[in-house]
Amino acid sequence: MATAGKIPRIIPLHDHATAARDVETQPVGTPLIFELSSDGRSGADLAPRVAGAPSGAELLGPELCREDLRGFPELSEPQVMRHFLRLSQLNFAQALQFYPLGSCTMKYNPVINDEMAALTGFANLHPCAPPHLAQGALELMARLEAALAEITGMDAISLHPAAGAQGELTGLLCARAYHRKRGESRRKVIIPDTAHGTNPASCTLAGYEVVVAKSNSRDFIEASEVRRLVDSDTAAMMVTNPNTLGIFEPQIAQIAAALHEKGALLYMDGANMNALMGVAKPGHMGADIVQLNLHKTFSTPHGGGGPGAGPIGVTRALEPFLPVPRLMKTAQGWTLDSESPDSIGRMRSFHGNFGMLVRAYTYIIALGGDGLGQASRLAILGANYLRKRLEDHFPAASAEPSMHECVLEHDLEKRTGVSTLEIAKRLLDFGVHPPTIYFPLVVHGALMIEPTETETKEVLDAFVVTMERIYAEALNDPELVKTAPHALKLSRVDEAEAARRPILRWQPK
């Protein structure tokens, strides 16, 4: 800011008189859409009712009809557009900022993906359209299933689940059904201490008791630990590979063997598949079930928290239990089959998050087999490069080689009281979205960094410079870091306050 010290606080003009009125005394944020509303405005003009015909309200009668939607927004179309356009500019996003959020694979989302999903033939297709009028969609799903099977080395794919967590639950319910079918009712699932929170949560939903496996001092799971825990009551073990420290589980094959020996299944959490394409296939590791997060590895947009898609792959033995509907090839072409007697059933309506499937398929054929393999290699390169360059002040939490992400530590908390959270907030001032922090839980003050293959070396270098700078700031001027961010429209947001006194909706005055 040119003469920042001299001038009073300035708030941009909003569609809201108060914003400009009391700029110094009354700091406000962006008005809510409800606060921009004014009685009698409208952003939509509808074709008028057929003259003389009774209205919808008359047809249904007062017994069935509600009062007027008091408090609902009343704005013109330009106001609506301006409001949400302005909101958009308050976000950091992968397309605009470096966003090395570990475990989230914030890679570039090709714009062509969205265009393809918006093609009339896909976007306007009703899920109940007769299959012979939807062969393109079904064919796409079939090609995507085949591609994902090839990438993972699994025998069968279900595109049904809506996200990674739903994929986990789907997979665990398949495991359950599998054991049931064999007349067994196993009650436990083993989960490493480094697991993502969705893993234990999915276990509970699937009716399993969680047994925690401890990572060894080198931050991976030893087959011996699994052997110690697994028994005839173990339904499965969920292993994230690479694990949440970014480390390839070196004993994965032995773990699988240990499980299989006891009749338990290996569930592989494939959220980190961006490390493995063309590098190692879950199917070859002995995985019986794997979920993929298309919104991570396969470049569908995260959308500020979804929608995603969480297909699962399984071995032949588990295929009968996959959710319905299943794609089926008939003489008349593709159709959707819901008659699958051993299936766990449905996890949702219709046929999966099809719009996301289009995007993922578009991405996969753009990269091709070779490109996918290269993507994983370059993702690994970037993570190892950052790890190496940052090692002086942000040493890796583990001595093991990193895959597509690295988890770092630091001594600032001890030296100057600057926490990982504060480092993260300070990064915002430099236009960088912070890494994932405080995860995995086993690493104190973790910084989990996943640069992805779509970032340049220059960006990584600049990130290193920025991190080094923050380290120096933390030593020389810790308050500066502790009170970050300073360069955004907002200062530090009080999250504790939000939880203490929850305000979860706007209320008219």
């Binding site: 406000v28 809510l32 074709a47 919808g56 309200a57 047809l59 509600r66 939607l69 927004p73 179309e77 308050l90 976000n91 950091f92 397309a95 966003y99 959020l101 989230c104 062509i112 033939g121 976007a123 009703h126 062969q135 393109g136 969609a137 996200a163 234990p200 949560a201 939903l205 009716g207 094959a253 590098v279 995260h302 959308g303 928290g305 929608p307 449905r346 996890m347 949702r348 309506s349 996301m356 578009t362 753009a366 290269q374 993507a375 290699r377 370059l378 690994i380 390169l381 490069y385 360059r389 895959m403 779509t454 340049t456 907002l490 200062s491 947001v493 009080d494 999250e495 939000a498 929850p502």
Partner: protein, 449 residues
Amino acid sequence: MRFMPQTEADIAAMLKTIGAPSLDALIAHVPEGLRRRAVINLAPGRGEAEVAEELCALAAMNAGASGYASFLGAGYYRHYVPAAVRAITARAEFATSYTPYQAEASQGTTQAIFEFQTLITQLTAMDVANASMYDGASAAAEAVLMARRVMPKRRVVALSRALWPDYRATIRTYLSALDGIEIVELPFDNTSGATDLSALEAIASDALLCAVLGYPNAFGVIEPLRAAAEIAHRAGAMMISATAEGLSLGLLKPPGELGADIVVGEGQSFGLALQFGGPGLGFMAAHTAHLRQMPGRLVGQTRDRDGRRAFCLTLSTREQHIRRERATSNICTNHSLCALAAAVYLSQMGRSGLRELAERNVELAHAAADALAARGIRRRFSGQFFNEFTIATPRPAAALEAAERRRILAGVALAPDYPEIADGIVIAVTEMNHHAEFDALADALMERR
């Protein structure tokens, strides 16, 4: 490859810094047996023009997406999506951001979700709504699980048979792993098409956990939600209403006013394209009393250090990343961008527009029903309906085929899911249908009578 910026020189320099001789050296620790077989046997990468060509060809193979007068509904509805919705959801700032963990860098997303939450509470007349679920069916399943957390001792779940088959199936799957749950299907009244409440009455005991009704239901019939809620409440059980046609809430009495304890539904009608059935938008609203048992993300209002209003994810101690196996749900990624679309859509339609559109849907659907009735095609059920109704026709499959030949997708046959309604076709009519289509529909349906 156009998405990957690393030049040969970059790779060499980075490898040198790392001290690795090659890219493959970085993965040398991955067991050789795995690496050797890991090659992905797919066609090589292609340029954007070639990729677009393949996808356009596939899209063109979906004849059902255009050129037909469509009366398909059954849980997913063809409404006009205003350009503003597409323009906003296409914003890279919204589309390519993650779940808003860093509040200061996510005020766009958090505020929009806060607005979405508010809009849903207004539509449903409930206290609180979450940031979205995957879809209506899974939201319904999560609602039952939530009810169970509220009243862990109760075990009977009453599902209306007139609830969409997908919703019932999803609920069954979600409950399949839980011990001791008993699902009772409430029959529907074969005349009105509404749930037979005497069946609910019959099981209304202190074992009853909740009753789940569609509102309107799978036949398009507007359920007597208030009466159902009263029965459930008398037994101390919870009433869960599920709405697949979100637009109906613009005109019908809100479930919250009728006594629903948890209100879920599908928000696809609020600005989302059909997309062959997904992604849609699950919504869930509840009373403050049950807030801590709600699944899913919640955005709350707070302040920044300088007193400015700000928004952030809150009450996350309910959630998997904090509470792990004791979380209220395993949901992580939800349907945020769809919630944004709904927020834009509902804001643009607005107070009067949404109601007017809902009324227009009723008017058109009733006009269609009248046009069919005038030709002797009668409604299967007498219950009042919003924009979807069921007709009775002797050979539904043949009728649908005949209509298709006239380029009409006349509706969805009930028989596959309801063998007891062998003659039923569910017909949805929205503002996208024209009066002129109704006679053509009647002609087509009469062809094989």
